[in-house]
């Protein structure tokens, strides 16, 4: 059949031009952007160092070299690592629970309109109000152990995961569901072969957003009431005006946040690879 050849021939000039544009865009992305990014970081660090030295003796802004030294000291200290372990435990357990609850709940909320209508006000409430005031409540219910911190992490992240998962499910094209039904797919098959893959980008976006909020929940629980882990280090260093170490711990927490976000972006990229 020569129909394909004809169709391709018609598309050819546009494709080559688009390819050329793509190559230029790619080169820009591959070389220019990383260089620009590195430069901006360098400028920022230099400005920080300069400002820190000028304000020597002040507690507010230690020079970046002092912070780096403090960070090195922390990384060599086993007490820092046990604090980090306590913090990460709450994050990982909490996020695992968030996924275990949020994804199935989101699938049901998205697939069963009645449930969606019932649950939606609560989800909107959880999304709209800050979850921090709930932390003392969790302490009353769970005590000041791991459970209260895990509950905080879950409370921060689960609603956005449910909402995004449900949105992904609702975005399933009805024509694909109809196609599957037309070929005799049972409801379970429609769900597994059509709804679930269609919802995957929504689930992945939900995971990325929930992960960011989970990190916030992790920090908030330790700062507000349950003084353990990295949060406790922050409280200690700020109480003793040890700004260099304070910044060092903050940098560690930021790094955790960035690492989690990166990991989730990778998950998302894989989920929508076919696009």
């Amino acid at each position: 059949m020569n129909g394909i050849a004809a169709e391709q021939a018609a598309a050819e000039p546009i494709r080559t031009r688009r390819d050329a544009l793509k190559r230029i865009a790619f080169r820009r992305r591959a070389v220019l952007y990383p260089v620009a990014r590195a430069l901006s970081v360098l400028v920022l660090l230099l400005a920080w160092e300069g400002a820190g030295r000028r304000a020597a003796g002040s507690f507010t802004l230690p020079p970046v070299t002092a912070v780096a030294a403090a960070l090195a000291g922390q990384l060599a200290d086993p007490r820092f690592w046990s604090a980090a372990a306590v913090t990460l435990q709450a994050l990982f357990v909490g996020f695992a629970l968030t996924m275990a609850v949020g994804i199935p709940a989101g699938l049901i909320v998205g697939r069963v309109p009645v449930v969606g209508r019932l649950v939606n006000p609560y989800l909107q409430f959880l999304l709209a109000v800050p979850a921090s005031p709930l932390v003392p409540l969790f302490v009353i219910v769970f005590g000041i152990g791991l459970a209260a911190r895990v509950a905080t992490v879950v409370t921060f992240g689960v609603a956005i995961l449910i909402v995004n998962t449900a949105a992904g499910v609702r975005l399933t094209p009805p024509s694909l569901v109809q196609m599957a039904e037309s070929f005799g797919a049972a409801p379970v098959q429609v769900f597994r072969r059509v709804v679930l893959p269609a919802a995957l980008p929504g689930i992945a976006a939900g995971l990325r957003l929930a992960a960011g909020r989970a990190v916030v929940g992790m920090v908030v629980s330790e700062l507000i009431i349950i003084s353990v882990g990295l949060g406790r280090l922050i409280s200690q260093y700020s109480a003793t005006f040890d700004a260099a170490n304070l910044y060092a711990v903050v940098i560690v927490i930021l790094s955790i946040g960035v690492a989690v976000a990166r990991g989730m972006s990778e998950v998302e990229r894989r989920a929508v690879r076919w696009r």
């Binding site: 059949m1 129909g3 394909i4 037309s182 070929f183 076919w274 696009r275």
Partner: protein, 260 residues
């Protein structure tokens, strides 16, 4: 409608209503009756909104009629069946699946083992001229190629009947002509029973043995035009006076519907 001899699809007094926004019932189809012989190519044509897509969905069993029934070889249908396969206007391809997985999808649903699935999918892909594109994703294919995938997916289950819902409506004119030619070739080689819904008069006359014309709401079969053009046909038939006359004949009826 009198059709003598063997009948494979029979629509008997099909009626369908939809609840409109105003709360009133909108009558989409009323008293639609017709029959399709085995190996016959029948087109249903009518103005947009006449319910022809709804009618096709009822024939497939996706939507139950409010009145009347569809019989396949005398048996009343209650849902989709393995003897029928649909080709969709918007292609309805799974964007996350490759061409091969899309074509194999109906077999997967039916629990056909992987190896046989692959073999049959590749055969069907070959049949529609897409060999070499098995590993492509739908978004990287042109509209015409996507609909070839849709056609291969319908053919892979080797159905007795093909139900086609404006399959070439979303394509540009050249691609549409190419695919019409190829569908004609395929049909002449395999002789499935085909019900094609279209709004393209030339397409209907070119491909069909019979054209059923539907009137506007409530949709019903207003007229039937036999197409006595000789078989096997090819694109040269489009240039004959007989072809022009038949298209004109269909157009006369449709024009009458278009008048307010």
């Amino acid at each position: 409608m009198a059709v003598n001899g063997e009948v494979v699809i029979q629509a008997v007094g099909i009626g369908k209503r939809f609840r409109a926004v105003t709360g009133d019932d909108l009558i989409a189809l009323e008293g639609v009756s017709f029959a399709v012989r085995p190996n016959e190519f029948v087109s249903i044509i009518g103005p947009s909104g006449c319910g022809k897509t709804t009618l096709l969905r009822i024939l497939d069993g996706l939507v139950p009629p409010d009145e009347g029934e569809v019989r396949i070889r005398g048996q009343r249908i209650t849902g989709p069946g393995p003897d029928r396969a649909m080709v969709f206007q918007d292609f309805a391809l799974l964007p996350w699946a490759t061409v091969e997985d899309n074509v194999a999808f109906p077999l997967e649903i039916r629990g056909v083992p992987l190896q046989e699935r692959q073999r049959r999918a590749r055969e069907a892909i070959q049949l529609v001229g897409l060999a070499g594109f098995e590993a492509y994703y739908p978004h990287s294919l042109s509209g015409g190629m996507q609909q070839r995938v849709g056609l291969a997916r319908a053919l892979v289950v080797d159905p007795e009947m093909l139900l086609m819902d404006e399959p070439f409506g979303a394509l540009d004119a050249q691609t549409r002509h190419l695919l019409q030619d190829e569908l004609l070739t395929l049909w002449q080689a395999h002789r499935k029973t085909v019900v094609l819904v279209t709004h393209d008069m030339e397409e209907a006359v070119y491909l069909s043995d019979r054209v059923l014309l539907m009137g506007p709401r409530p949709g019903r079969i207003a007229r039937e035009v036999e197409v006595p053009l000789p078989r096997p046909r090819d694109h040269t038939v489009r240039r004959t006076a007989q072809f022009a006359e038949l298209v004109e004949c269909v157009w006369d009826t449709l024009r009458a519907f278009a008048r307010p």
